[in-house]
């Protein structure tokens, strides 16, 4: 039996850098998610999470972020590519939870100033996702040459991204529904 509760799919903006273009990508994806029937979303900006840096892991779990991850049925992670990798702060934030992620879907949006659209950061995030119990989908969104995709005010200049985001979100929502059914109804034993 399918639950009547709406799906909750927050978007995590995975960088705190000044001038980050990933903010525009995260806002766009959050807006498109908000148009999906039966889906609630929220944009979580890791720059605004009050996590200490003198410890790590679940020892620094932050109540509001933990509650949102627990409520979530799936996640979207928007990550820029810095020297082929993800930001240290994103890993710090992700590591603060574990049980909240188990058997939930995740889709990754890569952002880069160059031509590869964050493909390398996505590849680098996949083993991390697997280890913390998230289930990756096979659609990504790649924002290549992001400075040409958005105007300075965040306006989308290339409408072709809407169709790609739509395909990405459809796959993510299907996986979110399927995994919710599994978490709630299908026993391991």
């Amino acid at each position: 039996m399918e639950s009547n509760r709406p799906l909750f799919i927050p978007v995590i903006l995975g960088t705190a850098r000044m001038g980050r273009m990933s903010l525009h990508a995260a806002r766009l994806v959050t807006g498109e998610l908000g148009k999906c029937a039966g889906v609630e979303t929220d944009l979580i900006d890791i720059a605004r999470l009050p996590l200490p840096t003198n410890d790590a892991g679940e020892a620094i779990k932050q109540a509001d972020f933990s509650a949102k991850m627990d409520k979530a049925d799936a996640l979207v992670i928007v990550s820029p590519e810095y020297n082929h990798g993800y930001s240290g702060l994103l890993k710090h934030v992700l590591d603060s939870c574990l049980k909240e992620y188990i058997h939930k879907a995740v889709g990754i949006v890569g952002v880069s100033a160059g031509p590869f659209g964050g493909t390398r950061v996505i590849q680098n995030l996949l083993p991390v996702m697997r280890e913390i119990g998230l289930v990756t989908i096979f659609w990504d969104v790649n924002f290549s040459s992001v400075q040409k995709v958005f105007a300075e005010d965040g306006r989308l200049l290339d409408e072709s991204y809407i169709r790609r985001i739509d395909k990405f979100l459809k796959e993510l929502i299907w996986m979110a529904k399927t995994l919710r059914q599994g978490r709630e109804q299908i026993s391991l034993d």
């Binding site: 639950s3 509760r5 627990d70 409520k71 049925d73 574990l98 049980k99 909240e100 188990i102 058997h103 119990g133 919710r180 599994g182 978490r183 709630e184 109804q185 299908i186 026993s187 391991l188 034993d189």
Partner: protein, 63 residues
């Protein structure tokens, strides 16, 4: 020492209904507080993950 599976159903603290046990995860830790339930055959702690079928809330416990 191998651990014995905990067969008691977890109860959702919000809905008071039985939760669904859907995942076991092997966790390695250096925390000596967690040394007790270590499964020596597997080399770590088995953590069980449960979800409430009513509200969707999650919970975990050592196996």
């Amino acid at each position: 020492m191998a651990t014995v599976a905990n067969t008691d159903k977890m109860i959702c603290p919000s809905c008071r209904v039985e939760m669904n046990h859907h995942c076991d995860k092997l966790i390695y830790t250096t925390d000596t507080q967690d040394a007790g339930p270590t499964d020596t055959n597997l080399g770590g702690i088995i953590e069980e993950f449960h979800t409430c079928p009513k509200c969707g809330g999650g919970a975990s416990r050592h196996a």
